[in-house]
Amino acid sequence: STFSAFAAGHGKIVIGHSACLSGKYAKAGEQAVGGIEACVDWVNNEYGGITLGGKKVPLKYKKYDCESKKESVTSLIGRLITVDKVDVVFAPYSSGLTLRGAPIAESHQMLYMDHGGANNKIFEQGFRYAVQTIGPATSYHKGTLDMVKKIAPDAKKVALAYEDSEFATMVMEGAKNHAEKLGFEIVFERTYPKGTTDLTPLLSAMKAAKPDFVLGGGHFEDGQLFNRQMADLNINVDCLSLIAAATLPAFSDALGHMAEGVMGPSHWEYGVTYSKEAAKEKGKQWIGPSQDEFVSLFKKATGDQKMLPDYHAAEAGAQVLAYVLAVEKTGSTDSDKVRAALGDLEFMSFYGSWDIDDSGLQVGHSMVDVQWQDGKRVIVWPESAQTGKPCYPMPTFDEKKDGKKALP
């Protein structure tokens, strides 16, 4: 790229980010910024900077607030590239906003790294500089299905109920294909509109289909509602897995005992066993803070001792590490070279493994499934990452109310 802080001799390498600090994605945006700041901190203070041309070069992070609006995304990314002359641009949260910024980055031949747009189709558009850290939407529920297949061969009937949004329907599509491949019978498949405040009619119909287990969800608020109203209507299934919502600490805070045994796919969870040693075992390169270091750096960055990082933070942080490795590998900040290096890069960090295919789609990272057991998140799948065994079937809502915990 012609625009490069480092090439321009600023003596720094700059990550530019149009972050969603306000507006509808503020929650995820806040996490992402915390994750990035934590890892930048690690790179500069632990790692000692990026080794480039035999020198240690510090990493800088420059962010603007795009208000979760697409008009701002283009103007801010334009500014980051041409005025601030950043070396790499991190996309904003969500597939839509990521798509919005991509053509600008492309036209400036600027490396564009996606930590929050999971739509697979982004990488079918032929962008040359776009690279994904977050895993694709179609793979969210693979793990749950694999798990049920393995531990409960009798379970046949699956119900799918997702939010009617671009992201969730893509997850549903992926889940449906995988379920069919594994030989499950899909007895119920429905969506509900975004912003729904009462799911009763849908859940009543789902109950009538008598599924063995249920996959669904969409975002944070509807996931809570989904679980809550299943409890209200006394719909008991062996397994319930909800995307996005179920993995957040707020989920169990909000639902209490009702959350017991509920699962959710996650890109990353506190407690995952990705470590330097595990990487060594697999013969993979390792970089970055350990999980605990990451958490404390995150708390330091956000200035909030109570807030824990979730996967939005982790994937944004891992993206920093991927960039650092790629720059070191090619010895340049040139976008073309770094993009090529990223294509070859395979490594492991607290976030897990990282590998992209030719289109830039993330294929190396596998998701984990967490389950709420006794008020704590336990990673139950895949077996290699387990911090505990899954509880299957989960207790009924009545049992949970009487204090039964979802322990294996």
Binding site: A19, L21, S22, G23, K63, Y64, D65, C66, E67, K69, K70, E71, S72, T74, S75, L76, I77, G78, R79, I81, T82, V83, D84, S95, G96, L99, R100, A102, P103, I104, E106, S107, N119, K121, I122, E124, Q125, G126, F127, D164, S165, E166, T169, M170, T191, P193, K194
Partner: protein, 333 residues
């Protein structure tokens, strides 16, 4: 003897402003995308002003027309992607489709909702916008909630380089032309019977009827004109600039509100107002998000309440009143 061109003098400041924007964007490093955003706001304001400013009716569902315009372009590109030899012709077809769709929707909405007045009209139009979005999602029209992503198709049709330039430059220039054209149409309307009829019906609809004005016809004319401009803005600033469309994004009610803020800040019913409003709004928003990330909405809300309470006529409204019957006055209407 008055100059024959003198009625068109008020376009001068409009064109000068657009030209200046263009020059700044092309020559000052790093400003083009900002200019592009400003142009979008200008075009949005100019287009909305034709209806909101001239009739006084508050269309809270205005964004629906940008939405269908975006769909128009999206349908053309995805539908004709197998005929890449048509090249830019497909983009032209997209614009035609955008205009047709916006016109059809506005005719249907206008025929029913324009019978209502005041708050009832505002609520009805919100209903149209939301209802239309849920129809697309619920009936799985045009891929339903999954929407369409068609950057690849655009690349294929136009070739990578041209497609890239369309997305980062030409789409914005098209928006500039749409904005300027909307201003020209606004002035032509103002100077013609339509403008007189709209002023009359804005002030007193029943008296206007008795004066021989077919109020329905003129309201619908303004509504459709304004809507089809919105359709082209959607096609250029959304579908061409970023080739994808997700229903909740293109029917996002915030855009209507932004359009209202722009028109109102500048001065509803004035020619220059939307442009001035767009510049004030766009520039201040941009710098707020740079210097005070995370609190700009908070500050904005306060500023807007303050502005509404203190200058309900808008900036150009005030200037117009102050300069009436002066030499500058003939440029500002």
């Amino acid at each position: 003897m008055k100059n024959r061109l003198s009625p068109y003098y008020p376009l001068l400041p409009v064109f000068v402003a657009y030209f200046a924007l263009f020059l700044v964007g092309r020559n000052v490093e790093g400003t083009w995308q900002l200019v592009a955003t400003l142009l979008f706001y200008c075009a949005l304001g100019q287009a909305f002003n034709i209806f909101l400013g001239m009739t006084g009716y508050v269309d809270f569902g205005y964004v629906a027309f940008l939405g269908v315009g975006t769909y128009g372009m999206a349908i053309a590109i995805t539908g004709l992607a197998n005929f890449p030899q048509l090249g830019l012709g497909i983009v032209a077809i997209g614009f035609v489709l955008a205009i047709i769709m916006a016109t059809l929707l506005s005719t249907a909405v206008g025929a029913v909702a324009l019978r209502l007045r005041g708050a009832y009209f505002a609520i009805a139009t919100i209903g149209v916008n939301e209802g239309f979005r849920f129809l697309i999602e619920g009936a799985n029209l045009w891929n339903g909630s999954s929407g369409m992503i068609f950057t690849a198709q655009l690349n294929e049709i136009l070739g990578r380089d041209l497609a890239s330039r369309v997305m980062t430059l030409w789409a914005d220039i098209l928006v500039l032309f749409i904005g300027a054209l909307a201003a020209v149409v606004t002035l032509l309307y103002m100077k013609s019977k339509i403008g007189y009829a709209l002023t009359a019906l804005r002030e007193d609809e029943d008296a206007a009827k008795v004066m021989g004005i077919n109020v329905t016809k003129y309201k619908i004319t303004a509504f459709i004109t304004s809507a089809s401009f919105a359709g082209t803005v959607g096609a250029a600033a959304w579908a061409l600039k970023t080739p994808y469309v997700f229903p909740p994004e293109v029917f996002e009610i915030h855009y209507t509100i932004e359009a209202i803020i722009i028109v109102m800040l500048g001065g509803a019913g004035t020619l220059l107002g939307p442009l001035v409003g767009a510049l004030i709004y766009g520039v201040s928003k941009y710098y707020l998000s740079i210097f005070l990330p995370g609190v700009q909405l908070f500050i904005f809300a306060l500023v807007i309440i303050f502005v509404i309470v203190t200058f309900p006529e808008g900036v150009v409204g005030v200037i117009k009143r102050k300069t009436r019957n002066t030499a500058i006055g003939q440029y500002i209407i």
